[in-house]
């Protein structure tokens, strides 16, 4: 269920835009922050709110990398493997982290704590290699520094 607080934030987003539908991306961000992913149930609620079919909500969810249709690990760790980062060892770091965290073939740790993935350029090319940990950037990494950043995660 979309909470009342989330609903209030969505209404505020709607009020700033010329058309209701424009607040769909903000609404997805708000709801996902609370619930972790966009379930069929949430898509139905959002569909009602935005007067569109739930399938249309899910189409938008699947178009954007940052929206998830499935339950997620508690933390997302994305190593940038685009060209400038790769030139400075990002792919080696990625493999080391894969081994260190012992992630499964989908990139998840067994305890549901971390999902490890790779990502395209995050606008930190000069500070490579780098990774995004949830909404925080960790830059100028080596393996030790990356491990320490991950240890802090609950």
């Amino acid at each position: 269920m979309i909470s009342e607080q989330a609903r209030a934030r969505i209404d505020e987003a709607i009020s700033k835009l010329p058309a209701r539908r424009g607040a769909l991306l903000p609404a997805l961000h708000i709801v996902q922050e609370e619930l972790g992913h966009i379930s069929p149930e949430t898509a139905r609620e959002l569909g009602e709110l935005f007067e569109i079919h739930p399938v249309e909500v899910m189409e938008v969810v699947s178009f954007y990398n940052m929206f998830y249709a499935e339950p997620q690990s508690r933390h997302h760790v994305y190593v940038c493997t685009n060209l400038p980062c790769s030139l400075r060892g990002a792919r080696v770091l990625y493999e080391q982290l894969e081994a260190h965290l012992e992630v499964d073939e989908n990139g998840n740790t067994a305890d549901g704590r971390i999902h490890l993935g790779h990502e395209e350029c995050l606008g930190a090319c000069a500070y490579a290699p780098m990774m995004r940990v949830d909404d925080r950037y960790c830059e100028d990494l080596d393996l030790d520094k990356a491990k320490r950043a991950l240890e802090e995660l609950e």
């Binding site: 938008v60 929206f67 792919r91 350029c121 090319c125 000069a126």
Partner: protein, 431 residues
């Protein structure tokens, strides 16, 4: 926090100062004076003429005249008019907008306010890429400060002019940087680019007349209003005036941001400013303007970083994101990384793009594995050629150009893979 540029100029010289990121600090540095001047002393048409006369080119990649674009906005309409600030910065190798947002949001907002006055826009949508969570928070804080001080909202600076700014976040799709993909996304849809015409000045955000400009483009505007078109034209080259913020990454001693005049030579940026290539290595190739722009070989770095000069070498300034590769680098691996990105990010509407990006990636991967055939090279060139100029948006061209550049200057690397049936560059960066 992002490091401030190693070389600064009028855009970034105060970025190291925390005070500058607050409204009061920005005002102490002379901030919002230009907006006051525009709104109280200049007619909208005069502002457009000034910016046209300054020769300011868009800094989002295409380099179109900002003043000319503003002049396309209809003046005889009852429809609401909008501005969009493109803060989607996703072109690999580019990270200048991030610092302009984190450390210079008020400068950009002042530019937006001036552009709004010039075009008669009632609202600006700032579309910031979803991953830029920290810059988005900084930006929102500055927007709130500007509202509190009546620099935004009703009756701006007591002039009766009203302007609202709404910050919206993207959600991880490169194509939402393309201006009409952005508009679709802003409307709550998949970010699939629109067919043009109609152009945004006729049919833009929510169907209304709209002008889209890049973060950096807006950031130059207060300086032009404050110091005049002649001052601006005195910096850079005749055809490409002003400074820009170059991002340098890859194999250099000092990767980072450098604010320098357009027309600064590429070799000067790499060797004098960024300290050259580490470990006694030499440059092999340089991508001069973000990943969509064709690569230049080591022998062609004596080029001024301005479109008129770069075009002669079959490449462009793009976003000014300079990626340096040393002589250990395997250019087939570079092709693998680049084509993977474009295959992954194609929005899928056009066959040439959807299929072409996949084929390019498949063929270069095959060559890298040592399973390429001699005719693969002709096929690559043929596919890339057929992707150009055929599609709804310029993404397909942007995917074709880097492959064409690599084939133009580093064909020998591809041939060596095919001949030896393996990658001969054992010291290259790992894939």
């Amino acid at each position: 926090m992002l490091k401030v540029p190693y070389v600064t100029g009028y855009l970034t010289e105060r970025f190291a100062d925390d005070d500058f990121a607050t409204l009061e600090g920005y005002e102490r540095a002379g901030g919002y004076r230009a907006a006051r001047k525009a709104l109280t002393e200049m007619a909208p048409a005069d502002v457009i003429e000034l910016v046209k006369g300054s020769g300011l080119q868009g800094r989002g990649g295409a380099g179109f005249s900002a003043g000319l674009k503003w002049s396309f906005m209809p003046t005889d309409t009852d429809q609401p008019k909008y501005l969009v600030c493109n803060a989607d910065e996703s072109e690999p190798g580019s990270f200048k907008d991030r610092i302009l947002l984190e450390r210079g949001a008020h400068q950009m907002l002042e530019g937006i306010l001036i552009a709004a006055w010039a075009t008669g826009a009632e609202k600006t949508f700032i579309y910031i890429r979803g991953e830029y969570a920290h810059p988005a928070r900084e930006l929102q804080r500055c927007v709130d400060e500007a509202y509190a001080k009546r620099y935004l909202g009703e009756n701006v600076m007591g002039t009766g002019f009203r302007h609202d700014v709404v910050v919206t976040r993207g959600a991880g799709a490169y194509i939402c940087g393309e201006e009409t993909g952005l508009l679709e996304s802003l409307e709550g849809k998949k970010g699939q680019p629109r067919k043009k015409p109609p152009f945004p000045a006729q049919y833009g955000a929510f169907g209304m007349p709209t002008t889209v400009n890049n973060v950096e483009t807006f950031s130059h505007v207060p300086h032009i209003v404050e110091r005049g078109a002649d001052w601006f034209r005195g910096i850079g080259t005749e055809k490409s005036p002003g400074n820009t913020v170059f991002g340098v990454s890859g194999h250099v001693e000092r990767p980072g941001l450098y604010e320098l005049p357009l027309g600064t030579r590429l070799d000067e940026i790499i060797f004098e400013h960024a300290g050259g290539v580490p470990n006694g290595r030499k440059v092999k190739g340089v991508i001069p303007g973000g990943m969509s722009m064709p690569i230049l070989p080591a022998g062609q770095l004596d080029v001024p970083m301005a479109n008129e000069a770069l075009r002669e070498r079959k490449t462009m300034l793009g976003t000014g994101g300079i990626m340096v590769m040393d002589d250990t680098t395997c250019m087939v691996r570079v092709a693998c990384v680049i084509t993977y990105f474009f295959r992954d990010e194609s929005c899928g509407q056009c066959t040439q793009c959807r299929e072409g990006t996949g084929w390019l990636n498949k063929i270069v991967n095959r060559i890298e594995r040592g399973a390429g055939e001699p005719e693969d090279l002709a096929i690559l060139v043929d596919i890339a050629g057929k992707m150009e100029g055929q599609t709804i948006c310029a993404f397909a061209d942007a995917a074709a150009w880097p492959v064409q550049g690599l084939m133009r200057h580093f064909r020998a690397d591809f041939e060596a893979h095919i001949e030896h049936k393996k990658c001969p560059f054992s010291e290259s960066f790992a894939l």
